[in-house]
Amino acid sequence: MRCMQKENAPRVEDYSGRVPEHKAVENLADLPDDVKEASHLAGIEPSEKGRSGSFFQIDQSVICARSSQDGVEVMSIEHALNKHSWMKDYYWKAVDADKDEYTRSLKTGPVKGYFLRTHPGVETIHPLQSCLFMERDGIAQKVHNIIIAEEGSHLHIITGCAVHARVRGGIHVGISEFYIKKNASVTFTMVHNWGEDLHVRPRSVAHVEEGGTFISNYICMKPVKSLQMYPTTRLLGRGARASYSSIVLGRNDSVIDIGSRVLLEAPETSAESVARAVARDRSRIFARGHLVGHVPGIKAHLECRGLILSPEAVIHAVPELEARRENLEMSHEAAVGKIAEKEILYLMSRGLSEDEATSAIIRGFLKVDIEGLPPKLAAEVRKLTEMEMSI
């Protein structure tokens, strides 16, 4: 039960279809309407209003990368590797390139993906946005992203993944390496809107130094063929903090295996992981969490709640706490079940119909207070979940 059955694991080389080049655009507003619309549903603002910078990649072409704020860098990873000689200290330094066949598939060959960085003491005025878009059917999209928040800086990112309606099959492999320096913070909100026949394998590791904070929010409401990821954060400096929130809706035949892992390696570090999973149709959701306490005095809490809305759906919650020292505070709560009838009846006794009551309960269930989002972004995220739930 460690992962999804091996024999179902997709192979990157099966998606070696020719990848076409896409032309760069001056503004995201110049993108075709269908691309704009699909990316908008993944939280991307094509008008670029309320964003301090944008990165947009279609298939394997970076078509836009720019920042509108001093001290904030937005560029392709290729560009960054050429520009900054010190990139070798970051590239493949958090994620192990030999971890599995997916990381190995990115070891060689042309590198695509984004590079985002805030200079020391700089705070993004508006969030940066980055979109990884798949337009061609049957290809492998491979990206390697590096995110650096220099000392005392604060970086907000919203990243959306989306596919064109014509895409039937394909695989997306994404390496993301986060470096959060002393007293810096990164708020990373990721919306996944993949297609029904897509395999998705993100591999991400964050390093957080003294007093730093990493907030990672994840939303996946659309069907996907298979999605497997176990993003990991290493809290390396005193007082560092990590917070993971995820909202996942399993639909149709989706197989979703997600978790978050935090290694608390320094004194006074703390971690929180909150997951909400709703399984419909014949979907299977594995909701994992793994918190590892390496030093005394750390605090960590794991929470997973699952709602089963179909007799053919499965939710498998796997919360793990690993304490390696005495005198630490680690806890978890997990609850999986169907909607309680007494809650439905209670709402009906206040005047809602059975259907209205059911959707009110599901909406409420998914209403996780997502930390660290600017109010406007929080409202957008809320709108996205509401929109998906109403379908």
């Binding site: 709640r305 309680a340 007494k342 809650e343 009846l345 209670y346 709402l347 009906m348 006794s349 206040r350 005047g351 809602l352 119909s353 059975e354 009110a360 309960i361 909406r363 409420g364 269930f365 998914l366 209403k367």
Partner: protein
């Protein structure tokens, strides 16, 4: 002539294969404030659930007539739409639905100004932004229930033990609120201990015992009798008071 708002005839319930009530009869007239006494386990709450139409409380025989209609085939929300409403003894917590939103569900045209003043009156202002019933104390959820009923404005309000778990300081508030709320409508108040009768001017009392209503009469006199001799003594009472 005062109209009957609720008429229960020869009611027997089936709760998961278990029979309850031996043909219960109860009539409530418009404007009445009826107090329903009864020992623990007598089926007082079951009666409320049956009137509301909770599916688990299946009608095996008999009828429930509300405002002249047999409501047996109606869903809970249809009955509520017709003018029924209840405050529950142990309402379930619902994550992600705040008390504030519940009040809007109860009355979809309610203004935030009204929510504010109503909740201040019930000393529930600071709970508006909390998930309904989640971590509420017994007394807090009673006040929250009452607040929701005030917003809902049912013609016939059913109160299930509105005073149990409420601290001494707030019993008066709960009692007075129910009393003034019922001035212009009909209500059935379930009480086990009868403490709340100090505040509610009930027009009639009755006792549910051993599956039937065994006594009707002056609620204060009934309460005294129960306190003196217990429910068993009440059942053995020779001079059973009868309706009208």
């Amino acid at each position: 002539m005062v109209k009957e708002i609720l008429k229960i005839e020869n009611l027997q319930l089936d709760i998961d294969g278990r029979g309850i009530f031996k043909g219960l009869n109860l009539t409530v007239k418009e404007g009445e404030r009826l107090v329903l006494f009864g020992p623990n386990g007598a089926g007082k709450s079951s009666l409320i659930y049956a009137i509301l139409g909770f599916p688990e409380y299946r009608i095996k025989s008999g009828r429930i007539i509300f405002k002249g209609k047999d409501i047996a085939a109606m869903t809970v929300n249809e009955r509520v739409g017709l003018g029924l409403g209840a405050s529950f003894q142990l309402p379930p917590p619902i994550r992600g639905i705040k008390l504030n939103e519940m009040l809007k569900i109860c009355d979809n045209s309610i203004t935030s100004k009204k929510i504010k003043s109503m909740s201040r009156g019930m000393k529930m202002e600071e709970f508006l932004d909390r998930d309904v019933n989640l971590g509420f104390s017994g007394g807090e959820s009673k006040r929250s229930e009452l607040l929701q009923l005030l917003a809902q404005q049912p013609e016939l309000a059913l109160f299930d033990e509105p005073d149990s778990g409420v601290d001494v300081e707030n019993v008066g508030l709960v009692g007075d609120t129910i009393n003034s709320f019922l001035k212009s409508r009909t209500g059935i108040v379930i009480t086990h201990q009868g403490y709340i009768l100090q505040f509610i001017k009930a027009t009639r009392g009755c006792v549910l015992y051993n599956g039937e209503i065994i006594c009707y009469g002056d609620p204060v006199k009934i309460l005294h009798a129960i306190k003196k001799k217990g429910y068993a003594g009440c059942a053995a009472c020779k001079k059973r008071m009868h309706q009208e």
